[in-house]
């Protein structure tokens, strides 16, 4: 890449971080909390997008990585008296380890088989959490607030902690997809057999990216447990695997900004429609239908195709 687009890309990404930082000073309490939540969920989508958008691997089991992070952090804090930061680190480590072990096995399949294997393991993970409900409290979940430092209750601390986790994952993903390694991922997405005959060990590349993707999902899960103080099995359910898929597709798979935008849009779409109807998922489904029919590239994908081909 030449200097021009490189500088613009950097400005765009740092600009988003700066805008999110500035937003906390102008937003009211309601949107302030929402945005903190969106940033944590967007971290999840950013991790998911590395796999779906850039490598072309569709997973329906990512909730297990989110939940591994969430329970890794939550259980160690609840039972072992871990602090917030060691708990977070353990959560991320659990997700990384799970993704690595799972990937070593699941990446022997591809395409639809991969999708099914991820879904099965995701379900197995969910059922395992329910099965050990004496430890995990199953569906009911548990609250962490009385075991966490009082500072984490402060909305400003929450917001900036969420921003920190988000910024780290977002910038890492933007750096990664523009690196030589990222180009290989795109090559795998476009034509894996060819990438292999160019001398790339595509299996190992996919394993690395799945591990990173799982790690980011776990970081989001661990952050969610810490910042919103709740750990529950519903975060391991299939719906929580479908969400990052929808956010990514809505915002634009294979764009760095897409998943972030998609998460925000969907969050407010649900927030808005659930205000006047309990059938808000119906409205969300309708919106997705429109998207798939008219903007199959997602918001940022369409922007890139029509207006700004330089965005990564």
């Amino acid at each position: 890449m030449k200097g021009g687009p490189g500088a613009r890309v950097l400005a765009l990404h740092l600009g988003l971080i700066a805008a999110l930082f500035a937003a906390q000073f102008v937003l009211g309490a309601y949107h302030h909390t929402n945005l903190a939540r969106i940033m944590v969920l967007a971290t999840y989508a950013v991790g998911y997008n590395l796999l779906l958008g850039y490598t072309g691997l569709m997973s329906l089991g990512h909730a297990m990585f989110f939940a591994a992070g969430m329970y890794g952090a939550g259980l160690s804090i609840y039972y072992l008296g871990f602090g917030a930061i060691p708990g977070f680190a353990l959560g991320v480590a659990c997700a990384l380890g799970l993704a690595l072990a799972f990937g070593a096995f699941a990446l022997r399949t591809s395409g639809v088989s991969f999708l099914i294997v991820t879904m099965m393991f995701g379900q197995a993970f969910y059922l395992t959490i329910l099965y050990f409900n004496q430890v995990t409290f199953g569906d009911q979940g548990f609250i962490l607030s009385d075991r966490l430092p009082a500072a984490l209750v402060d909305p400003d601390v929450k917001y900036n902690a969420a921003l920190l986790v988000f910024a780290a994952c977002f910038l890492a993903s933007a750096f990664l997809v523009r690196s030589p390694f990222g180009r290989i991922l795109v090559a795998i997405r476009e034509n894996e057999a060819r990438a292999r005959l160019l001398g790339y060990d595509t299996y190992t590349c996919k394993l690395v990216v799945l591990t990173l993707s799982g790690g980011m999902s776990g970081a989001a899960g661990a952050a969610y447990a810490l910042l919103f103080s709740y750990v529950g099995a519903s975060f391991a359910a299939i719906l929580n695997s479908i969400y990052p898929l929808l956010w990514t597709l809505l915002g634009g798979a294979g764009t760095t900004l897409g998943p972030v935008l998609g998460t925000g849009l969907m969050f407010y779409l649900v927030d808005f429609t659930s205000g006047w109807t309990s059938a808000y998922l119906f409205v969300v489904g309708g919106a997705l239908l429109v998207l798939v029919l008219f903007f199959p590239l997602g918001v940022m994908g369409t922007v890139r195709a029509k207006l700004a081909p330089w965005i990564p």
Binding site: L176, P180, R194, L198
Partner: protein
């Protein structure tokens, strides 16, 4: 016979009841243009598929520089310098012509983990320019590869292969889809390439084969029916019957 750079030993591949390649032993010497010819279905593509690791042999061995590579994965063989250009064009259609070649060129530069995250752009650009220039593709470098005319997609395949700095370059029907006047230029290019790499050439155009190759293996129904220098192969009565006579 001098030691071969690449050898197959009783190489066999069966697909169900069909034996596509049957007990084939060839030796490709360094610096040659070694042509493999034969009618459709003779097993040529399956043979080179086994050489580059796309197809797993049912029996037999493959040696490269004296080392057994029969079980070596395809990507390792590509890295070792056995580079294949596809018969049915296999490029990254959605990516630009330049990025297609860059993907190949980067592979040669990414030899330490740090290089997977960052590469010197200058070293890369030079290599890509060189490979694109050799095949006269510079003017089309920003187009999506899938938009190129078919013949030029074949040239892009060759440019990608060159950027990988092959030791053995397998060209599987490279001239297919090229216009008559482009074929002359293409033959020149292959001759230039052969000063840097050993070439295995599968080609239906018999004039191209006779002009370029220093050694010809003729296959029919999975077996070798003749093997030698062009003059002796052309004179072989079995070859006349099986292949050349059908022209």
């Amino acid at each position: 016979m001098s030691a071969a750079l690449l050898e197959t030993e009783a190489l066999t591949r069966r697909f169900g009841g069909l034996t596509a390649v049957d007990d084939v032993s060839i030796g490709v010497r360094a610096g040659q243009i070694h042509a493999i010819i034969g009618p459709n279905g003779a097993g040529k593509t399956t043979l080179v598929g086994m050489v580059c690791g796309r197809v797993r042999p049912s029996a037999g061995r493959i040696r490269f520089e004296g080392r057994d590579i029969t079980r070596t994965p395809a990507w390792r063989r590509a890295l070792a310098g056995i580079v294949y250009t596809f018969q049915v064009t296999s490029i990254f259609r959605a990516l630009s012509v330049r990025e297609n070649v860059a993907l190949a060129a980067r592979r040669r530069l990414m030899h330490s983990p740090a290089r997977w995250l960052h590469l010197d752009p200058m070293a890369l650009e030079d290599r890509v320019d060189a490979a694109l220039g050799t095949l006269d593709l510079r003017e089309q470098e920003h187009r999506p590869a899938g938009e190129l005319p078919y013949g030029h997609q074949r040239l892009l395949e060759v440019a990608m292969a060159l950027a990988l700095e092959p030791r053995v370059l397998v060209l599987d029907e490279p001239a297919q889809g090229l216009a008559e006047h482009e074929i002359d230029t293409f033959c020149e290019r292959v001759r230039e390439i052969s000063s840097r790499a050993t070439v295995i050439l599968i080609e239906h155009n018999i004039d191209v084969v006779l002009r370029l190759s220093s050694h010809i293996t003729v296959m029919d129904r999975g077996r070798i029916i003749a093997d030698g220098d062009p003059a002796s192969v052309e004179a072989d009565p079995g070859v006349q019957r099986a292949y050349l006579g059908r022209r």
